[in-house]
Amino acid sequence: MDIKPYLDSFPLPAKRGILSDVNKEETDKTIIEVMKAPDKVALQLVDRLIDPGAQGNDIQARHLLHAMAVRIPDYDRREGPGLRSKFCLALAKTLSDKRPDRVKAFIIRQLQLCGGEEVISKIGEFLTVPGIADDAAQALIAIGKNSAGQFRNAVPMVRNDPSLYSNALHGLAQLADDSSKDIFIEALKDDNDESRLLGLWGLTQLADVSTLPLFLESELKEKGYSRIKSASYCLQFAEKINKIDAIKIYQHLIKTRTLPDEKYLREIAESALK
């Protein structure tokens, strides 16, 4: 399959370097054509991607690959299932090859837009790879709750890298993963402010009242901006649970936010108790 005509239908920078010379009719025709064999086209496009800054030009290849990623779910719905997963699996397969990190990150970002269950484990492998882990995390979060297992698996492997650990905690908290209660509790003991706050946020997301005593004890240790943030988690936790337990949180805030500058927090808590 010769994809050059498809690429040529996509614009190159024109005046001022912007993509103003674009022909919608031609690009639309190309998209209809490439959707007949999205997996094969995807593989060829990926081979044309280059590391940003490297010699060459992959503007059209990136553009066409992205157009396929955003439009294929609709083709899949209209023209029968299978197209999307075929395309995504082809893209995911290229992540095993030797390619520059920023190229892999770009491929993962396209999977963020159209990927499903079929690519979760492949993307999950990158949660332990510095420089790509945050791209992988955001793609998995977009794909949804079923990807939580990838973050849970990554936690023990990244435990000693503050950035990767924070990335994994963040994913689990964002997905409100019910099975991560102990992971969030463990994070409360971390030396790193960010990890502790993510632990508190994770518990807030779960709003499991059995964790409330530990949550309140831990949030109280935070200082400065983290103290401001942990008070917010208290209020959000309270909004999610039964009234009797919520009262404990509001009373905790009234009792502990005693600085003059924290009067607004006491007032919010007092107002919630009325």
Binding site: T27, H63, D134, E194, G224
Partner: protein, 413 residues
């Protein structure tokens, strides 16, 4: 979640509802001046619109600059030197928000930071004046609404058109007709032709990455957005050309135009249900060309954006103004008997009276949604159905990935 959202919508629909909680400034306390003196004011994001946004915030308020913040050291230092050498300089907004002398915060960073900093400021007990567009994506706006309801702080979006619009008799009449629901189905169409700076804020793909200057904290600049190789155009006014930070001329100019129109047409508490765009495939990184976008509300009322800078002009529907003559005589009498809407409070009045400002979070969020919905339709290349209450696309899971875009750790809504 659903019931909470309804509760929030209801709460924020009462735009002039007063807060019971007074600012720390009025309460006084250690390090605070009495109410007869000044508000401690701060600016976060000192480049471009920053100084102007700060001046808009403190207009008609007794305020002095006590702090400023920017991820570029020379920029914040330069601003403080010009404005008030006694003010404190910060490079990280989190540190600024710890400062108890700050009562009011003007936010003029690129938009990918607007929601997170607004929320953090509310959590720190500050009132906020935020540059437009309010957000980078839809879920951010809802989170801002929820935070300001939770903390009872004042928020005003940095566009003032709705104040003028609300003083016009014609606009007030249209507002009353729309809010009455008497014109349903509504055949009217408002077309915004041109003025959305399509070419000016279209991006240049393929620029070569460079090493950022030591003056700039590139990681913090990117913040919740993907950490990509530094390209000069990603910083400064041209940040608008990147989906990672804004959304082209649509987001730069759209809130100016549609925020007052949204008030006039009584749509501050809802969003369009159907969105269709005529555009070529969008580039993954940079903003580009589009011809028109049509956004229709559940009552049939339609907003149209016609770029007038690329492609065919919009010709599906003609412009049609809402007027009393479209109603029966009996309904016209009902409209004439309706009281005028409550006057909109400026930021200064809202701060002093502890009431919600005219450009309150729900209104600003809904206005930003118009732009985001339009951009999502441009980017996806398909007609979309949207549920304004759930704030989700209907039957399109992948479109919903543009509603709540995952953030980079540790940032979250």
């Amino acid at each position: 979640m659903k019931s909470n959202r309804r509760k929030f919508l209801k709460a924020s629909a009462a735009s002039a509802a007063s807060f019971q909680i007074v600012p720390r400034h009025v309460i006084g306390g250690q390090g605070h001046t009495p109410p007869s003196e000044t508000y401690g004011a701060a600016l976060i994001g000192c480049g471009g619109r920053g100084p102007g946004t700060y001046e808009s915030m403190v207009r008609k308020l007794p305020a002095r600059l006590v702090a400023a913040c920017d991820v570029q050291k020379t920029r914040v230092n330069g601003y403080i030197k010009r404005k008030n050498p006694d003010a404190k300089a910060y490079n990280d907004f989190r540190k600024l928000l710890e400062n108890p002398d700050v009562d009011l915060v003007a936010i003029a960073t690129p938009p990918h930071w607007h929601a997170l900093i607004s929320i953090a400021a509310a959590e720190a007990g500050k009132d906020v004046f935020c540059e437009k567009p309010m957000t980078r994506f839809i879920a951010e706006g809802r989170a801002v609404v929820e935070a300001f309801n939770r903390y009872k702080r004042v928020f005003q979006i940095g566009t003032n058109g709705r104040f003028g619009a609300s003083k016009s008799r014609t606009s007030r009449t249209i507002h009353k007709i729309m809010r009455s629901g008497l014109l349903n189905p509504n055949p009217c169409v408002h077309i915004k032709k041109g003025g959305l700076k399509l070419n000016q804020w279209s991006g240049k793909p393929g620029l070569k990455p460079r090493i950022p200057s030591e003056d700039l904290d590139w990681d913090l600049y990117c913040g919740p957005s993907p950490l990509k190789p530094f390209v000069t155009d990603r910083v400064g006014g041209t940040h608008r050309n990147y989906w990672d930070y804004e959304g082209g001329g649509m987001c730069d100019m759209g809130q100016h135009h549609f925020d007052p129109q949204q008030w006039i047409y009584g749509k501050d508490d809802t969003s369009p249900v159907s969105i269709e765009a005529f555009a070529p495939p969008a580039h993954p990184d940079v903003t580009g060309m589009w011809a028109w976008v049509e956004l229709t509300y559940s009552d049939g009322f339609t907003f149209v954006m016609d770029s007038a800078e690329w492609g065919p002009g919009y010709d599906k529907k003609a412009s049609k103004q809402v007027s009393l003559s479209q109603l029966s005589e009996k309904d016209q009498q009902k409209i004439n008997a309706m009281p005028d809407p409550e006057p909109l409070l400026s930021f200064a009045e809202a701060v002093k009276q502890r009431k919600q400002a005219g450009g309150h979070p729900e209104a600003a969020h809904r206005a930003a949604c118009i732009l985001h919905l339009a951009n999502i339709a441009i980017r996806l290349g398909r007609k979309l159905q949207y549920d304004p209450e759930k704030e989700q696309f209907v039957g399109d899971d992948e479109a919903n990935r543009f509603v709540n875009v995952p953030m980079r750790s540790p940032w979250h809504l």
